[in-house]
Symmetry: C2
Amino acid sequence: MANPTAAMLVIGDEILSGRTRDSNMHFLAGELTRHGIRLMEARVVADDPAAIIAAVNALRTAHDNLFTSGGIGPTHDDITADAIAAAFGVGISHRADAMALLQAHYDRAGLEFNDARKRMARIPDGATLIDNPVSTAPGFTLGNVHVMAGVPKIFEAMVASVMPQLTGGAPLLSQSLRVERGEGEIAAEFGALAAAFPDLSMGSYPFIQNGAHGTNLVIRGTDAGRIDAAMTQLAALFK
Amino acid sequence: MANPTAAMLVIGDEILSGRTRDSNMHFLAGELTRHGIRLMEARVVADDPAAIIAAVNALRTAHDNLFTSGGIGPTHDDITADAIAAAFGVGISHRADAMALLQAHYDRAGLEFNDARKRMARIPDGATLIDNPVSTAPGFTLGNVHVMAGVPKIFEAMVASVMPQLTGGAPLLSQSLRVERGEGEIAAEFGALAAAFPDLSMGSYPFIQNGAHGTNLVIRGTDAGRIDAAMTQLAALFK
């Protein structure tokens, strides 16, 4: 049975300007792989409604799941919730359950639940909330789109909330072999091995260490026995 | 005058599987910002010809420049050059100047210039080569698409080769202010300031440090005087 698929959309000017280096994509990629969900594509777009709406609609229709990060805070540049509502053609309003969660949070902290903070309770119609154990302001799931915060600690907690509810697949397994030879030297035999195991995916990743060329050879698939068989042949070729 | 625009396409299963954390996008974002070129969008796709071709054609028509990383080595999973040729509808062959560069390189190293290594001289018709001072195998520019290696050290050297040939714009400047208050507390005044300076872009980036909420406020634009004026008001608001 084919593994479910996913895409990710990172939203934020700060990534594209080079101010911030995104870490959420790499984190999500690892989590999805463990859950047997294949990450097929990722995109980064600016804080621009048209760009967000176009990307959301392209990715949510092409894949089983779409995960977004960024743009759900209280400031003027936080426009993701509105863009998601527009992408789905649904309304958006301050929702009672989200308002109650936030009111209690700010009461406990002795802080005013002001209009900016109330913005974080604006949720598109028909969505379910995603728990935020770090700072309370919820993410949400609408259809197959999971909308999460950009702050890595909060993003990671939200992924942990969402993951158990998703339909996973057979875990995506991998084994790798490090060889102290350049790619050009191992390419022919490695390519022949890949052709002999069409059910597996094989990749080669060159590195340079202390001026010497080496290559990490990676075999990926869902059948542990087949991966073992291929690894045995690979090790025999290049040991 | 509006700044030129760019997109980036990262090609590679290893990024989407979570094996490797991409660093090239962040590096390129910083370089483009310094050269006054606005990075509008980035995508990551797998080693899949259809996915690469679709992304290349979408991004090269939407932006002034497209930069790709990954998939130009000697192994079976290196399919970027063929995908670029297909995207442009042009032929691809072992090119004499690239063959000569590589032949000399492997002669110097005392290594066989085998068929796998010759693959790295396959260049789409009409392209110009991008110098690779690290390991010789060239990248190439075809139309407004700059095709570069995935290994960060080589990618960065190729960016340095390409950048002086691009049409830049006014440098994209930014200043930032760190405040020890949560976003919800500064959102109203910061939003009002952003509305008063519609020619500038203002973003707020929350952080949590030692359990306390703080925010980095960033002002971006191309007019240093306007940025200074906005920063003066910002500092007065939140000092």
